[in-house]
């Protein structure tokens, strides 16, 4: 739908209530795959991490990865879910070339975790409770690359290549119940929810949680209904939304698109839709009806997973603190105002700040660097901040250099560009490039005396208590020394000279 045909967002919300539902797939970072001993490793040469089991050779059988079960339980517990004392796997049967056995081993009516909830704060500060229906274990499919044709889709391709390295990688699918009442903030809520899931799985170290690698994938269901209507509207499921920003945009787009159709008396087709980041729009995928028949039945090659109470309690005791508790704690520890803190949260920089502070930086300094210059560079280069070649330790180092007066702000920004260019740690760069501020009093005194010659009455003014008079001299000194002077020391020296 062309932009002009979309309904104005505010108008759409006046007319309709938005209901969303989110399905998040989390790829676990276990060493091996879900049902075999192959390495679970991203980016390797295609079809090198494969064996008879994950490519479904005749006679092979699955065996459940214990660590994957534990990670799944941990995710369930972190989402406040109950853990099933016994859970069978099931087979989801359909033919597709990325699915080696032509069935996916998944959980169907007996998910390992069910009935949880999580509080999600959106940028406005409003908090919504999202009910979790279930979290279940399943295996990923292989990766198809369609060659030839213009769309990169299977239709029109000359041939397709399959990489089974991803086949059998353990996934946890987290499904929410329908989320009502978010209104205009539904898109933000969707993104904030996925961000929370990312934070949780990352904090537990059960997933690398990198969206750009597909470690966390989100399918967003959106439906509209007239205010006051009880019956849910027809939903669409938008796939391929693999960044937080895309999730927000895609949900907003679907709201506007569906509203435009409904307002004209049209009907929404129940279907999967694809999000196109470049066009900022979704397009129709395949029709999806509840009658999709996957012929689920209990997986006879696996015995039910039966986690002991001891295991569950042991995993519960190892859970990291809840994201909302963590936020409260960090805001207090850092003594940030609400707005300052929200900036950090919305920029997704809590981990970085926490690490940077842990590495010795003052919270305000850490915040200044991450949400300021570093975020600016990431934005300018259109990159995720985690992709930049700078670590929390680097930022702490940089902050320490400024704090100790070895470099000033201007130099620090220069050092930062060298860090991002891969020249090493800030300390090493300062040493190698000789960027330290001049704190040799002799050189400074000479520069001050030269400056004083132009501003004769300054020392007298200072003696009279008019300290601001020093400003002009400091400015001249800094200019003369091309910024490499320690302004604080210059001020001290001027005062000393005045009081001599």
């Amino acid at each position: 739908m062309a932009k002009a045909e979309l309904m104005d967002y505010a108008k759409a919300l006046e007319q309709f209530e938005v209901v969303i539902g989110l399905e998040v797939h989390v790829e676990l970072n276990t060493n091996t795959k879900m049902f075999c001993g192959c390495a679970n490793s991203f980016g390797d040469v295609p079809n090198t991490n494969v064996c008879p089991i994950c490519i479904g050779l005749p006679g092979s059988l699955p065996a459940v990865n214990r660590k994957a079960v534990e990670s799944s339980i941990s995710i369930g517990l972190a989402l406040g879910c109950s853990i099933a004392p016994t859970g069978r796997f099931a087979r989801k049967n359909y033919f597709y070339p990325d699915l080696a056995k032509n069935f996916q081993t998944s959980q169907y009516d007996e998910p390992i975790a069910f009935e949880g909830s999580i509080d999600i704060e959106v940028p406005s500060g409003n908090v919504f409770t999202v009910q979790i229906e279930r979290a279940h274990m399943e295996e990923d499919a292989g990766k198809l690359t369609h060659v030839g044709g213009s769309t990169g889709r299977i239709q029109g391709a000359e041939y397709s290549l399959v990489d089974y390295n991803r086949a059998g990688v353990p996934l946890v699918e987290i499904v929410t119940k329908p989320v009502y009442g978010a209104g205009a903030e539904a898109p933000e809520l969707a993104a904030a929810y996925v961000r929370s899931i990312r934070e949780i799985v990352k904090a537990m170290n059960v997933s690398d949680a990198r969206m750009e690698r597909g470690n966390v994938r989100c399918d967003a269901n959106v439906s509209l209904r007239p205010h006051g209507q009880e019956k849910l509207g027809t939903r669409t499921e938008t796939k391929n939304v693999n960044s937080l920003r895309s999730i927000e945009r895609a949900v907003r787009y679907e709201i506007q698109r569906q509203a435009a159709i409904l307002a004209k008396g049209g009907t929404i087709t129940q279907e999967t839709r694809h999000w196109h980041e470049d066009k900022g729009a979704t397009s129709s995928g395949r029709p999806k009806s509840d009658a999709d028949d996957y012929r689920y039945f209990p997986e006879p090659d696996l015995v039910p997973v039966q986690p002991s109470i001891e295991l569950i309690e042991s995993l519960r005791s190892q859970l990291p603190e809840k994201p909302s508790d963590r936020r409260k704690r960090l805001q207090a520890e850092w003594a940030f105002g609400d707005l300052e803190f929200r900036d950090v949260v919305n920029a997704g920089l809590m981990d970085q700040l926490e690490e940077t502070v842990a590495a010795g930086a003052k919270p305000q300094a850490a915040r200044k660097w991450w949400t300021g210059e570093i975020a600016r560079v990431a934005n300018a280069e259109d990159k995720d901040i985690t992709e930049l070649a700078i670590t929390s330790a680097d930022v702490a180092d940089l902050a320490a250099l400024v704090e100790s007066g070895k470099i000033n702000d201007r130099l620090a920004r220069e050092v930062l560009t060298y860090v991002l260019a891969g020249e090493g740690s800030p300390s090493a760069i300062v040493a190698n490039r000789g960027l330290e501020v001049v704190s040799d009093d002799g050189a400074l005194i000479a520069a001050i005396e030269a400056a004083l010659a132009k501003h004769g009455d300054v020392l007298a003014a200072i003696r009279e208590g008019r300290m601001q008079a020093a400003g002009a001299v400091i400015g001249s000194v800094m200019q003369a020394m091309k910024g490499s002077a320690d302004a604080g020391r210059v001020r001290e020296l001027i005062i000393e000279m005045a009081n001599k």
Binding site: P52, I55, G56, L57, P58, G59, S60, L61, P62, A63, V64, R91, N93, F95, P97, A100, K101, N102, F103, I154, S160, V162, A291, D293, R295, Y296, F297, P300, D301, L302, V303
Partner: protein, 505 residues
């Protein structure tokens, strides 16, 4: 030169250990017999003469150097062609896998290799083990070595005929609804379906995962026990394999007493529907056991009546999913249709060409049984029947230590006789199917020939899960009683294969 092919496996183990015969000599004698008769019998789809002799030579060399070897080292064996092997094709009797050589050895095959047993070859079967006559093999039927115009039973007709025709001392079979026990009954041999999970299924091309069980095919109860002791045991590759190994069966065959043993005759599996000669031999066996001190009781298993119906929903359902992987993408047959070869069309054309009619019938049946809207009525109900059958067993085992029935309603029928009547074919397994649905162990052993046709009759004993030893105990006891009566083994009462083959030629 002594003909060692007639010796039992138990005897051969002793002869090999004593150095009376070398493994190469023994293996060569079996290969010679295969060479002479397999053209007619078609028990083997593939003969691995070279690798069998290489293993045999290795055993002889190591034995000569005084090395301590596994007990069965040097004893040749045949393997059903639905178990993967890296040195011979694994076809599962299907065009879909013609010429396919697996990338790994099945756990059972690996165990045979670890025990240095020369593998003579891969035996014929109904396609993907679907059938009761071996006539569904894409590579032609196997013939019964008692009467060449008769079926050897199925699906493991190849293994049974190989053992019964002295083309192997032992063979590996797989039993989903009777595929070891029914052919044993048809060919006068012994076959055991151990407790579900006793033998790893890793590398067994799955038919119905919750029913499939690998087991021994042999000429005597002791020989079967000898083989179970080698192949049983937990396998981390098979989650459904039992943690405790049922691998001390030979010891059970040494106690040949049935005194005080409570034997339950299953009411539903005698009388009406069973051939007169089958019933007669069965009754005589029961009398003999009674005379030996066993306590005979009748047990009622009312749900067994629905076993075949439930089985033909559960099996096709699982098979329809297990066989989905045969899609031409990664291995096996690929048929590219004319016109634009989309993936769906290639898959469809391959499956159309590669699967035989019985396989297609069951895939369609299973797909239907699992379909949304029909699942509860078909697959769901079948699972309920399965539970009822398990309860019938549990109740019966309260009053009996083992249960007993004829293995099959009839003796071997003629090739082609039931090919066009699937229901009649399915009913051959009426007595064997309940054990698979309940996961309990069963053994079939020969109890003489039916007077009306001179063809072998088998008896089946069933025991509670994990109590395989009871089968070997009662089986060995009855076998001894019968062999004393006959003055020879069951197979020794049968016709000479060379004579039968010469008549065909």
């Amino acid at each position: 030169m002594t003909d060692y092919t007639r010796k039992s496996a138990t005897e051969l183990v002793a002869l090999l250990q004593a150095g009376t015969v070398t493994s190469v000599e023994l293996t060569q004698q079996f290969l010679d017999r295969i060479d002479a008769f397999n053209g007619v019998v078609n028990a083997y789809l593939h003969v691995s003469a070279e690798s069998a002799l290489a293993t045999a030579a290795e055993v002889d060399r190591r034995r000569a150097s005084g090395e301590a070897l596994p007990k069965l080292a040097g004893l040749p064996i045949a393997v059903k062609d639905n178990l993967t092997t890296t040195d011979a094709p694994t076809t599962a009797g299907s065009k879909m896998l013609e010429g396919y050589v697996a990338a790994y050895d099945a756990t059972v095959v690996k165990k045979l290799r670890d025990n240095l047993m020369p593998i003579l070859g891969k035996t014929n079967l109904d396609e993907f083990a679907m059938g009761s006559s071996t006539e569904n093999s894409a590579f032609g039927p196997t013939r019964n070595t008692w009467s060449l115009d008769r079926i050897p039973g199925g699906s493991g007709g190849g293994s049974a005929a190989a053992v019964g025709g002295y083309l192997a001392p032992l063979a590996i079979g797989s039993d989903t609804g009777g595929s070891i026990r029914f052919p044993a009954s048809m060919t006068g041999t012994v076959g055991t379906k151990p407790t579900y999970g006793a033998v790893s299924r890793y590398g067994l091309i799955a038919l119905a995962s919750s029913l499939d069980q690998i087991g021994p095919v042999a000429r005597s109860v002791a020989d079967a026990a000898l083989l179970q002791d080698v192949i049983a045991g937990h396998d981390p590759h098979d989650s459904t394999s039992l943690p405790n190994a049922l691998d001390n069966m030979l010891a059970a065959t040494e106690n040949k007493s049935v005194a005080g043993l409570r034997i339950g005759v299953i009411k539903q599996l005698t009388g009406e529907g069973f051939q007169a000669g089958v019933q007669q031999r069965f009754d005589e066996s029961i009398e003999a056991l009674k005379a030996a001190g066993a306590q005979i009781v009748e047990v009622d298993c009312p749900s067994f009546e629905y076993a075949v119906a439930a089985y033909y929903l559960i099996l096709p359902a699982e098979a329809s999913s297990n066989l989905a992987k045969f899609d031409s993408v990664r291995f096996g047959l690929r048929v590219t249709p004319e016109g634009s070869p989309t993936i769906e069309r290639v898959m469809a054309a391959t499956r159309e060409a590669g699967f035989g009619p019985e396989v297609k019938r069951r895939i369609i049946l299973g797909t239907y049984a699992l379909s949304s809207g029909y699942y509860d009525a078909y697959y769901g109900s079948a699972q309920k029947v399965r539970t009822l059958i398990q309860r019938d067993f549990a109740k019966a085992f309260e009053v009996a230590d083992v249960l007993v029935s004829p293995t099959a309603p009839t003796t071997a029928f003629k090739l082609g006789e039931k090919v066009s009547d699937p229901i009649a074919m399915y009913l051959n397994d009426i007595a064997t199917i309940p054990a698979n649905l309940a996961g309990v162990p069963g053994i079939s052993l020969p109890i003489g020939v039916a007077p009306e046709d001179g063809l072998p009759v088998g008896i089946q004993f069933l025991a509670p899960a994990m109590e395989d030893a009871r089968l070997y105990q009662v089986g060995a006891a009855l076998e001894e009683i019968l062999e004393q009566k006959w003055g020879k083994t069951m197979l020794e009462t049968g016709p000479d294969l060379a004579t039968l083959v010469s008549e065909v030629k």
